[in-house]
Assembly symmetry: D3
Homo-oligomer: 337 residues x 6
């Protein structure tokens, strides 16, 4: 049965130079709208749920275009506030080989979303309707107002019986005060969360935990159970990911639940657009949990969803449940006729 | 000396999403016109022959566009009937990595071609002019009327001394009745054909033949001579093809003639657009046979033509005889100045 | 207060050659999805209502793309059935000056929608929810099954207290049996309708009514009251439209209600894409009626909405209530900064 | 019954900046291939004849692209010589309003065509097959070799009973020696021609004839009969054309035959691409003459063909006989469904 | 002899939806960089001078792209400061007919330029080199820092013997405090200026002057001499412009100098992109003054430059002196071959 | 401190079919302007120097477009002569896999540049300003006039104390008379040069030197010191490059100076557009020499610049000094945020 999945987060306009030209060489841009919340709500919609976004968008043609884009993905506009003037934007120049991709931001912190406060959102209505609410560490890095909105929303949804999901998603460039500034906010969110996306690095660096293990896998198996216990988290999941020299990526997912670790196969695959793979993985975990998949099925479903998200144009995962299941079964055909 | 090569078959409109977007993401399509007959007639034209198509196209702007496209390839319009309203179409979304390409058809069986009958074609004129006529298993899967046209044309060309070429090209999704429905029609065409494109799988599954060999190569060497004998076929040729994990393909061609097998080198190559490679291989075999190449030359020429067809945009082979010969000599330069 | 506006009708895929090239000259197409129902539901959504479409779409990537397009416009997918394989399509080549635009259809009558029957739709749910349901003469021209669905839906919505709106929209090429075949079906719909879009030509030709007046205006004023009385219709509205030699159009709207005619100003304007102007006019009438505008306001609002729809790319009206009101006030600025 | 129409002339590559940008602003070009001969052969093919081109093209990818383009238009490649390295090219920047279009040529006189001589062409074969051969004053302005080829071809076709058509088409910028250099060559061609395209200005300036009339119409009626008599020309035809200030053009055609003038209506129309209208007019005259139209029909058909050529993208007329006849009947509809 | 023309002003990124789609319909944008200073420096460069821009741009890929764009126009980068993060941007949706164009700005006041102060610019170097320096009322409306930079630069250039040009260019939406806030700053600039662009409305509204005349022409002739006297301005020039209903514009320029008015012809012309016409007019006045044209020639040259700027894609005038002179002579040809 | 780097050479227009289509399949081209001199001047500008080009361009819109393109790259136009009519052009069709790229030239030898002579250039001004002047073997292959200009410019710059750099860059197809014709001209340039780009093959084939070594490395180490001695060259540098079967390239650079060889690491990398890598390498050597890098730093900087040039769209290197240094440090990130 479809659930109501609510994601909280900023919608940004992505302005991408087509192909491999630089901004100094080209004269056209492709635009779309994205963000962790968008990716999550879209992915859950493709899996058969009703995806909602809690965000605030300017009341002008750019805000209209964002709404149209979200609706195209099937995301519902019911919880989107409209007011203000600015949408966050970033320009993307694709790298090639040894040349890195480049991202250039506009005044993000002054965007309509990042200057919004909790009174912009109908918290009661959201809390009554959300089966799941999702937050991410990127929004947590923004402004005090945004952080306050996150914590209030999480609390209220939890009180009403909804599941709170939090993706740590730590971005060093967004925290002027570094781990020290971030830690108390992360602890607040972890204490409120039922499902958390993270791995051993988050435990080590954000939470400042310690381990005498040296391999990533051992560190993970040592630290994650401690995190789960300390913050009383039902399910923790995440991935280990590696960029290979031949432009492929390798990904292995894990889930920790009821005191047990489950790991997906470690798969290697070609990458068209890497942004959004983490959100697809999160969506897979959520869908598995909501659908009573076994842990093995859930983690494999999530890893496959993450892999497929890398094969799709744009940030936003586009695969249906059927497509993920088909790819899990490994029945990749050359052309589907 | 150039020969008159006549190919019988449907012309379909191919509507392709550019790049790697899905139909739900994009808003433009590239269109072209293709089909096994188109590919064959075009390839033979590039090899210096006069390519003709026997087909029927609607008498409307879509039919006009198809004709223009065929003419651009150098194919002659003399044997193309015009009447009716519908052209078969398919939409193509390109896959990437683990994500398969997807093909979506429109009402194909009701197309002008698939509702045509033999009276639409000037059989006498065609039979008098064709040095070679080519048919394929895709058309054979369509409608009774199409099948009737094929058999009558094959018979009449044969009577007039033309060479009949038949490419088995079995497509499971097109035969509701499966191998059982297909077998008698395939047997009719095999009995009429001088040159046949097939491999051991066609013998095993369509014709229901048996072998106690297990490797593909041994099965081929066991079954193909029996097919040649049973249906009195002068030349049988085909390929073994493998899709490798790194997006390259491997291809080895064979030809059976005068009781002997000849094999091409087994080559591995990058693939831009895989559709049409089989038709390029067939064209290479035909051109070798018409040009009195040795079997070794013929089969290597055909395999190289197949490989080059994979490096070209669109379904239709575009390489000239000189270009195939140059690639056979392996003189691949980086840039031809 | 926003109303639930339900439109019944076919969604077609529009494949348009960009610019002024012919299909024989170009190699790309722009695609979108449209239809009278789409236009109406979209326009009403822009005016602040909730627009729904009752239609049936194939369960394949083309159907998915149609849904995405409708959602982008803000139309709700709740009443859309999914099943079957074919979507109606048309190709559009833009005319220029003396050269007419050309439309080429594919197998429309075999589309998923035109082979649907009433059991595909959740009539009860629709009837309970619709504040207004809209039908049009194009759908009425299609198949017996479609006609049956229309009449059942109209009856049930009416029983539940919803408003039934019917746009005569007679297209000669779609009725093999001409006016004679059409008349009984039109009479059925007129008897069920509360609001009807038509003008004097529909009364003369479809309904076979007679008048001794000669000017269009006098004929209108003579016949429309008789139609209203005979079929017991609350409101009848429509337009007189003229294509001028300098590529401008002139449009005057009228509304007949409570025994009185009201006319809009007769305005002349440049036209970018003329398709959809009639649906914008209908939407304006509906919005005026639902918003308790005076007849004068309603008819002027509708005429302005029709004019603005001609200034927009694509079939579908895109103007908000505020934009129509601003254009009514005539405050056209060169650039809005 | 279709005739074999042979046109002699250069094929040039047209490289056009899309839209209204300048070469200093843009970074893409659209390319096509055109020339008076191309336009004429294409137009006659659309009218149901078999169009051939006598020209010489380089034996390289640019020559291949030109051939493909000609074939797409339906023009036969049988009389096209291949050898040499250069194709004439011009760059076109579209003007707007008061800003003129600009044409920039590459080294035209050194092109494969302009350095060809009569031995490059199979004169016997051409003469045996041509029902009509067409020449134009642009080719006459090129090189001595080209002029020699023209005169030999004209003579031989005439001897074999074919019709020789010559379009004066004087371009001042192409004749270094002005009218004086041009006159003897024009006289040679006029003496060989059966059908000539010209107007009173050609008589006055190229041929140096005199008249005491002052209006263009009177000068035409005075001079053309004298030209016909002096050079023994069966039919002379041409147009008077005016560019109006509102971006429309006005055109009136005439034909002089058997001692009588016939004039078309003077029509005014919007212009998308004015190049090629004269060739369309010539094609209309030829088609009328070959089809035994009355002079009135012929001249109106030709003027309508010229008008429609201005509504089409690119140099080359694309209208069929049916489309010209329909436009003559004035049945311009908004959209053809 | 070429002069060094220095323009002070903001460079903005213009992000334009191609064609006539809305941001909610499209998915690509064309980008360029513009501003009054850019337009002026570019236009003067095309007239043979050396154009410089005094501005500040972010030190990131967007700033790099802006520099590249300016250099492409021939503008020198010597006086451009680099630092900071944000460039002002605006999105442009083209209107059609009755539908207005729409401009949506991003956070302009926080741009690198609008937060720059005079220490960012090498005032001495600029003052020593500038033959002319140009300012505009748009920059004056921005921030105190920008206003301060303007006044200091104007003073220093004047001291060194350079000509100071000021274009009033009042934009109501940019002055929160309206005319009252603007007046003292305008007076400062007028007192420093040698050449001023304005018309009677600026005198009436910004400067609060009074007149008992009623027609625009009479008001102009009454007020401008008073302005010249009061602020001791050598030359005042400007235009009267009218948008006509048929999408053409009419423009008449004037210049007041040495106590005398000179007027250009009043011309009407088609408009492709109206932005930048005023800057082209200013450039024409400056060029005329620097080249010792007679007042009659100067004002006609300027008006023609303004007209041609409307025929060009983008904000920035692209016509050379020769092209303006040719258009003044009225020798508009259809195509320049 | 920035140096004035002057490059002598032809600017050609590059007309490239987008993607992988052939000229016979496509209808659009992308254009840019390039050449060894362009690449070198642009690369040095990106490294912080002032790049100038000594060339001659036609005085028409194609020449204007070339100038705009060069300015966009930051190259100064001060030493560019304008006159004449033709610019050299080449058409580029991209290869794929086994299918080679194809280049088709227009009449290059008759271009404005290749018919220029030394009087077109202000040799004194150039010689007084150039810190470095760069020549290449492609220009040397053109015409006697070009060769004369090269030698005079080299001599005069040397006399004034500038550094002369010569890149051997031997292209067999450009020398009708082969090595024999080339040798004396190469010897003239080598005798004038301070810095020379070459490897052992140039010594063996152009200069006809002999060695009994067999490996490339040993031949290099045997021959280059002899060349340096014989022609009195301060620094010789170059690369060994290999195209690998998986579409990667491998490159190792060397520099010989003060009697010692220094080699860069041998790196393997993906290639987007291989043209221009050699010019980037040369620019790296020049920049290292001008910046007093150690030989080790210089050669590694140059090799990295060469590698990055292969990751960029178009011929022209676009990397800044900072970007090359960052890539040298190997800090390749996936996305730069």
């Amino acid at each position: 049965m479809p659930k109501k999945i609510v994601a909280f987060g900023e919608v940004m306009m992505r302005l991408q130079v087509p192909g491999y030209e630089l901004l100094t060489q080209a004269n056209t841009l492709q635009y779309s709208f994205s963000g962790t919340g968008v990716n999550l709500a879209s992915a859950m919609t493709k899996f058969g749920h009703d995806g909602y976004l809690v965000t605030k968008l300017p009341d002008n043609p750019l805000g209209d275009a964002a709404i149209s884009f979200l609706q195209r993905l099937g995301i519902r506009r019911d919880f989107i506030a409209r007011e203000g003037k600015y949408i966050g934007m970033y320009f993307l120049e694709n790298g090639y080989g040894q040349r890195s991709s480049r991202v250039t931001y506009t005044n993000r912190l002054e965007s309509t979303f990042n200057t919004s406060d909790v009174s912009d959102y109908d918290v009661d209505l959201i809390a009554e309707n959300a089966d799941v609410i999702h937050f991410c560490g990127i929004a947590l890095a923004m402004t005090d107002k945004v952080r306050e909105s996150m914590k209030i929303l999480a609390k209220r949804v939890k009180e009403k019986g909804g599941i709170v999901c939090f993706d740590c998603n730590y971005r060093p460039s967004l925290w002027d005060g570094g781990y020290k500034q971030a830690k108390p906010h992360y602890e607040d969110m972890l204490s409120l969360a039922d499902i958390v996306m993270m791995n051993e690095k988050d435990a080590l660096y954000i939470l400042g935990m310690e381990t005498d293990k040296t391999s990533r896998r051992e560190q993970l198996e040592d630290l994650i159970p401690k995190v789960a216990e300390k913050y009383n988290i039902q399910t923790i999941a995440g991935t280990h990911r590696r960029v290979n020299s031949d432009n492929t990526h390798s990904l292995q997912g894990y889930m920790y639940k009821n005191g047990e670790f489950t790991f997906s196969a470690n798969t290697t695959f070609s990458v068209y657009d890497r942004i959004g793979a983490g959100d697809a993985y999160t969506s897979g975990i959520l869908h598995g949990e909501l659908s009573d998949f076994s842990p093995k099925e859930t983690v494999q479903f999530a890893a496959t969803a993450g892999m497929l998200a890398c094969s799709v144009v744009g940030d936003t995962p586009m695969s249906t449940e059927a497509e993920v299941l088909s790819a899990m079964r490994g029945t990749t055909e050359d052309i589907k006729r």
